[in-house]
């Protein structure tokens, strides 16, 4: 291939080179040799990661899509059922309700996270180095805590007898509550540890975005006599549009997929009020040996969340021009 293309401009080459169809002696051959060696080395270096991803990510996806069209359990041959698994999922009120609940959960978690993160970032960028370090490390520490430990802590905080929260609301004369046992408070009670666990990363991304805004914008605003609110709403927030969008979508998809907290804290109860979609799929998988249904549900959820991720990725890639 390369040789035929390069064979054309040979007028300057030596006779020998011309006979071989090469423009000028050794160089191209050296390059071809390099390429072959480079190819081999590259493939050797890529092999581990590509093989592992193929076995443990790509193949499971392909296999999941395949199985979603079959009725199959570990002990039987798969029987093709067409779209029936998907129809069953879409006709299952428990699943549809769990997705709705996931969206509601995201609405409880993400805006609070964004607002706290924004205030945090606004504060940190005005304080001195050492205080800023202390604040950044403090807010990031909950991110290190596992979902299981967070669950253990918050279940006891919500405890009916002697829990801190009941002691706290008792100061204001509020009756004791079974926070996780009450259908009205269970989901918000689950949202609090979710906010707590995710706040650190959200805040630091927000801060990194905020310090990227050139100081000259604020100097200009100062000259015009703008106050803090005007600077926040007319300078900071518009310039951080991409950051907000990114945090909004990643936070949203993470919240809808929240799984460990309800698994450990409530196991979906009371009356399925904390049965988030992934927990529902997981429970179904554990209780039903025919896995086609669970897989179809997981794929439907993936398609919804995947579309959202694709949208952010495109939006973020296309609106680079916003910065100064």
């Amino acid at each position: 291939m390369t040789q035929t293309v390069q064979a054309e401009p040979t007028t300057l080459g030596t006779a020998a080179a011309r006979r071989r169809g090469r423009p000028s002696g050794k160089q191209p051959r050296a390059r071809t040799g390099m390429n072959a060696r480079s190819n081999k080395m590259a493939y050797l270096m890529l092999a581990p990661v590509v093989i592992l991803l193929t076995i443990f990510v790509v193949w499971p996806v392909v296999y999941a899509v395949y199985l979603s069209f079959y009725n199959w359990s570990f002990y039987t041959d798969p029987i093709p059922v067409g779209w029936r698994n998907y129809m069953n999922v879409l006709g299952d009120r428990t699943f549809i309700e769990s997705v709705g609940r996931g969206l509601l959960f995201a609405v409880m978690v993400v805006p609070v996270q964004l607002v706290i993160a924004f205030l945090f970032a606004s504060l940190v960028r005005t304080v001195s180095g050492r205080v800023a370090t202390l604040l950044k490390v403090s807010i990031y520490i909950p991110t290190i805590v596992s979902g299981v430990i967070a669950s253990i802590i918050f279940v006891l905080i919500y405890n009916y007898q002697g829990g801190i929260l009941n002691a706290f609301v008792g100061l204001f004369g509020v009756e004791k509550q079974a926070w996780l046992g009450n259908v009205a408070t269970a989901l918000p009670a689950l949202a609090v540890p979710a906010i707590w666990l995710g706040l650190g990363i959200c805040s630091l991304i927000m801060l990194a975005g905020m310090v990227d805004i050139p100081a000259t914008y604020y100097e200009a605003a100062d000259l015009d006599g703008a106050n803090w609110f005007q600077k926040t709403f007319f300078v900071t927030i518009p310039l951080m549009k991409n950051i907000f969008l990114f945090l909004l979508i990643t936070g949203f998809t993470a919240a809808v997929q929240q799984f460990e907290l309800p698994l450990v804290m409530t196991d979906g109860g009371p009356l399925e009020r904390t049965l988030l979609p992934n927990l529902y799929i997981f429970q179904h998988f554990r209780n039903d040996t025919y896995v086609g249904y669970s897989i179809a549900a997981a794929i439907l959820l993936m398609v919804v969340l995947g579309s959202i991720s694709a949208v952010i990725f495109r939006v973020l890639n296309s609106e680079k021009a916003v910065d100064g």
Binding site: N35, V50, V61, Y63, I144, I149, A298, M302, L316
Partner: protein, 301 residues
């Protein structure tokens, strides 16, 4: 994702420094004092909210079993007891679980650093056939949510006879497109000149990776290594699906089991949780400069 793309990870204290407006003017007078007080209050509130649950966990570890949820509520114990910590440390299952998880996390971290940095180097610096196809292939895996493949991954590891071995915890998650992407961004910013000089000296591509890129990878290895270690240490769902023998119980699995089997031992549960959170806390505090500095958003704007 594109969040973490450190070029040169700046020190934690440097974020926020570059664009800070000149101060002083605003810090004088009654208004300045009010603003300062407001800032201190807001900062203290944030620190309190972030750390209160953890502080409570540590302190509850010093309480007797009934005191943890005693009425009326008391934040500090009547008597500070170290028995809970002593007992949980004397529990062979707890100690074994901590050791097995620690060993697994080290293996997982090393494997993750090795396979992802090799791949990252190839994508950053080598030219080869089908590079774009392979790149798209690898990066696409970043967008697949865990739940979509959780069930069939379980089928795959069952077929590979990996269930209930340490391999099922270490191998499947080691290759990560997100980590590879992060490392590649870092390698792309290594100056070409170094490599060209080495090539003139007759170094092979492998030699360049081994002697130039690996030694320079420390900051990015800290971030990726810490993330991998943490992911392994904190994982719960995958272990409860794949590990059944108590000898291999992971630490999160141990805590959840302890909680359901010995529900009355709340003081010990809190002591165990504190100790289980300790290794990753220490790691984080040691490397916080790199980790927090690693959160840059060069890819985002």
């Amino acid at each position: 994702m594109a969040v973490d793309t450190p070029v040169t990870a700046p020190a934690i204290s440097e974020i926020g420094r570059t664009t800070r407006r000149p101060r002083g003017r605003r810090d004088t007078g009654a208004k300045g004092v009010a603003v300062l007080t407001g800032k201190i209050a807001a900062g203290a509130l944030l620190v309190l909210l972030a750390l209160f649950p953890l502080a409570w966990m540590v302190i509850a570890g010093f309480k007797s079993r009934t005191e943890v949820v005693a009425t009326p509520f008391q934040f500090f114990p009547e008597v500070w007891r170290v028995e809970n910590y002593q007992q949980i440390l004397a529990d062979p299952e707890f100690v074994r679980s901590m050791s097995v998880t620690f060993g697994g996390a080290i293996l997982f971290t090393l494997l993750s650093l090795t396979v992802n940095s090799l791949g990252a180097y190839a994508f950053a610096r080598l030219e080869f056939a089908f590079k774009n196809v392979l790149w798209v292939y690898v990066i696409t895996t970043m967008f697949i949510p865990g739940m979509a493949i959780l069930l069939t991954s379980f089928v795959v590891v069952t077929r590979l006879r990996m269930l209930d071995t340490i391999a099922v915890l270490v191998i499947p998650g080691a290759a990560s497109a997100a980590h590879l992407f992060f490392m590649r961004q870092y390698y792309l910013n290594v100056p070409m000149a170094l490599e060209e000089a080495a090539t003139l000296d007759g170094a092979s591509k492998w030699g360049i990776y081994r002697h130039i890129f690996l030694p320079m990878s420390k900051p990015v290895f800290v971030v990726v290594g810490m993330t991998s270690f943490l992911a392994f240490w904190n994982s719960y769902v995958w272990p409860i699906m794949t590990i059944t023998s108590r000898d291999l119980y992971q630490i999160q699995q141990f805590l959840a089991t302890f909680r359901s089997e010995r529900a009355a031992e709340l003081g010990m549960l809190m002591a165990g949780s504190t100790l289980a959170a300790l290794p990753v806390m220490i790691l984080f505090l040691v490397f916080q400069r790199h980790i927090i500095g690693g959160i840059k958003i060069a890819g985002l704007k």
